[in-house]
């Protein structure tokens, strides 16, 4: 099977800031290449990415909204175990959805049985009283639970753990999030979902020493007989040109999300939308640490995205030897030169697969060394074309 793997590489400069601090308030650091670097932990940037992702992609986009949830789940139950006939599957589905959502699933009063081909009337399917939303992945989870509890479904959901599992299966926001990022905090039911993305700790491309800002604050209601500051303290900070890296296993994401279910939409739509939202969310998010103190709202100067059929490649080694700034040159230009050299050397040494596609987003003259590495795009073009390319490859492999 051909694989679809996405890797994202970002160079981003932040002014004096304290994006991610430890328990003593010091910006996090790490040693790399024998030199101390500024570090922003993967969990900090993932949280920012998650929040951005939630804004960019409503979970409702990834599934169907219907009252006929029982039929919807019952079809899947029958696919999983064809010894279960329609009426049993409907009963199982109704109980399962009821346990999961707590809402009533009943046969609508005004419906008489549908006429089937042989003239006999089928019992009408129960429905929920309001439109419910389910993604392919949630439908699967609920159907599997129903099959598991087939022997005595009511008793099965009396069990607290099973009921909890049903509830969290039906929690949509949670399920899209988990498909992409895995679980940060363990719950019973999602323990078996492996995250589709890997995010590395961001590190500065140059050596960094933390600085500290001594501050005094004035008490506005101070009386003149008490001169002096209301309080004093220090805030530690550093400024850095960061290399950020993330890899996304598109196949894993597609498996976690399931296929598109709506009429008239491509089966790859959910995965395309999720890829788009992830690329935009990762590139354009910023951890919120001390942001009101430093206002470090920058955007990346350079983004390289590669779509491959092989395992992802992390280019952090380009900066293993810390970048040294000449007077008046800054770090960015040298970092871009290093990255461009490193990419071409690695690709020369290991060869590139014909099916690797590269996109480059860059701003400013300092990023010129990266020109020509791939298709130059603006943010909107990048997001759209990466999403489309990933979805097209999924369609081929499906």
């Amino acid at each position: 099977m051909t694989r679809t793997i996405l890797d994202l590489h970002v160079l981003q400069t932040v002014p004096p800031s304290n994006l991610n601090r430890d328990d003593t308030g010091t910006p996090k650091t790490a040693l790399y290449g024998g030199a101390r670097r500024s570090r922003v932990s993967s969990q900090a940037w993932k949280r920012a990415t998650r929040a951005a992702f939630a804004e960019l992609l409503a979970p409702e986009e990834l599934g169907v909204r219907t009252k006929r949830v029982a039929e919807f789940v019952a079809e899947r139950i029958h696919e999983l175990d064809d010894s279960i006939d329609r009426s049993e599957a409907l009963a199982l589905a109704a109980e399962t959805v009821k346990a999961a959502t707590g809402s009533k699933i009943e046969v609508p009063k005004r419906k008489s049985g549908k006429k089937t081909d042989d003239g006999a009337s089928e019992p009408p399917a129960p429905q929920s009283s309001y439109l419910m939303f389910l993604s392919a992945q949630q439908r699967d989870a609920l159907a599997q639970l129903a099959v598991k509890g087939r022997a005595d479904i009511k008793a099965f959901f009396k069990d607290k753990d099973n009921k909890e599992e049903a509830k969290s299966s039906a929690n949509t926001r949670h399920s899209v999030d988990i498909a992409l990022f895995g679980r940060m905090v363990a719950d019973g039911a999602d323990i078996n979902v492996d995250a589709a993305t890997q995010v590395a700790h961001a590190i500065s491309v140059h050596a960094v020493e933390n600085e500290s800002d001594y501050y005094t604050a004035v008490d506005d209601r101070r009386k003149d007989e008490e001169p002096g500051a209301g309080m004093i303290g220090t805030v530690e900070f550093n400024s850095a040109t960061l290399y950020r890296y993330a890899a996304l296993d598109v196949d894993r994401l597609a498996a976690n999300l399931g296929r598109g279910l709506r009429d008239g939409e491509e089966p790859t739509t959910p995965v395309r939308r999720a890829v788009e939202a992830f690329v935009e969310g990762f590139v354009d998010s910023m951890p919120s640490g001390k942001i009101n103190t430093f206002g470090n709202h920058t955007r990346p100067e350079a983004v390289i995205v590669k779509l491959r059929g092989t395992r992802p490649v992390n280019f952090v080694s380009a900066f293993e030897q810390p970048v040294v700034a000449d007077v008046g040159s800054g770090y960015l230009r040298k970092a871009c030169e290093r990255l461009a050299d490193h990419i071409s050397q690695i690709e020369e040494a290991y060869g590139t697969h014909a099916d690797t596609t590269t996109w480059v987003l860059r701003a400013g003259a300092n990023t010129e060394p990266l020109a020509g590495l791939g298709a130059e795009s603006s943010m909107g073009e990048l997001v759209e074309s990466v999403g489309r390319a990933a979805a097209d490859r999924q369609a081929e492999t499906a």
Partner: protein, 240 residues
């Protein structure tokens, strides 16, 4: 017998063996469970899958660059409830480079080598936030020289440039290796990192005996120390 050699290098790595709950420590060298887990994941095995065939492989690690331990402080909030989770400490090895090797049956090694080159689950160095910074596979060795110790003697020193420069005075460098101990080895320590099951509901590890040793490898950046230059500041000043 065949051997698969792996290069484990990256800015951060974390190899826990007794790391549980809020304090996630790391050993000084990669654990057998960590490396076998990476191989099983590369093959696409489920977490609940049987890994007894992998556990039987003979395992060893060569320390090419020790790195330093850093502590990371982490807070988390539950996405649904917003409740703060216990504050946790996570330890990492920063700036370290290891060569790990597994020795075993030729077919299994060949299958693992294929898997490492096109992995189903992406490899990482003990924790998902630690992607490798270099390709993981060094290569598979089979034939007569395919003994773990010999492979550790023949694989080039993988340390980073800055680290090699520091030891450029040595023609050969002695690198520590930690091997699965054989029956009858006297000097050994035990460590609980032999995977019995990776099933997240009940992860189980057995004890493993480890024997410490060293191997010598040539230093490619070796330079003979330059002869001291003759420097006499007096002549330009003239006089007798």
């Amino acid at each position: 017998m065949s051997v698969l050699a792996l290069c484990l290098a990256g800015p951060l790595q974390a190899w826990g063996s007794s790391a549980r709950f809020a304090r996630r420590t790391t050993e000084n060298v990669p654990t057998k469970s960590g490396v076998l887990g990476m191989l099983a994941a590369a093959q696409g095995r489920d977490r609940a899958a049987d890994v007894s065939d992998l556990a039987e492989l003979r395992f060893g690690v060569r320390v090419d660059q020790r790195g330093t331990r850093i502590r990371d402080f982490q807070t988390a909030h539950h996405t649904e409830t917003g409740n703060a989770m216990p504050v946790s400490e996570r330890f990492y090895l920063a700036d370290a480079v290891f060569v790990a090797g597994v020795e075993g049956d030729g077919d299994l090694i060949a299958a693992l080598h294929r898997a490492v080159r096109s992995p189903v689950y992406l490899p990482y160095l003990g924790r998902r936030s630690c992607p490798p910074s270099r390709p993981v596979d060094i290569g598979a060795f089979d034939g007569t020289d395919a003994v773990l110790e010999d492979v550790f003697r023949s694989v080039e020193w993988q340390a980073a440039e800055h680290h090699r420069r520091r030891r450029s005075g040595e023609r050969r460098v002695a690198l520590p290796v930690f091997m699965d101990a054989a029956e009858g080895d006297r000097e050994k320590n035990s460590r609980r990192d032999l995977p019995v099951s990776f099933d997240p509901r009940h992860r189980r590890y057995a004890l493993r005996d480890v024997k410490a040793d060293t191997v010598e490898v040539p230093n490619p950046t070796h330079r003979a120390p330059a002869a001291p230059s003759h420097h006499d500041p007096m002549p330009p000043l003239g006089g007798d």
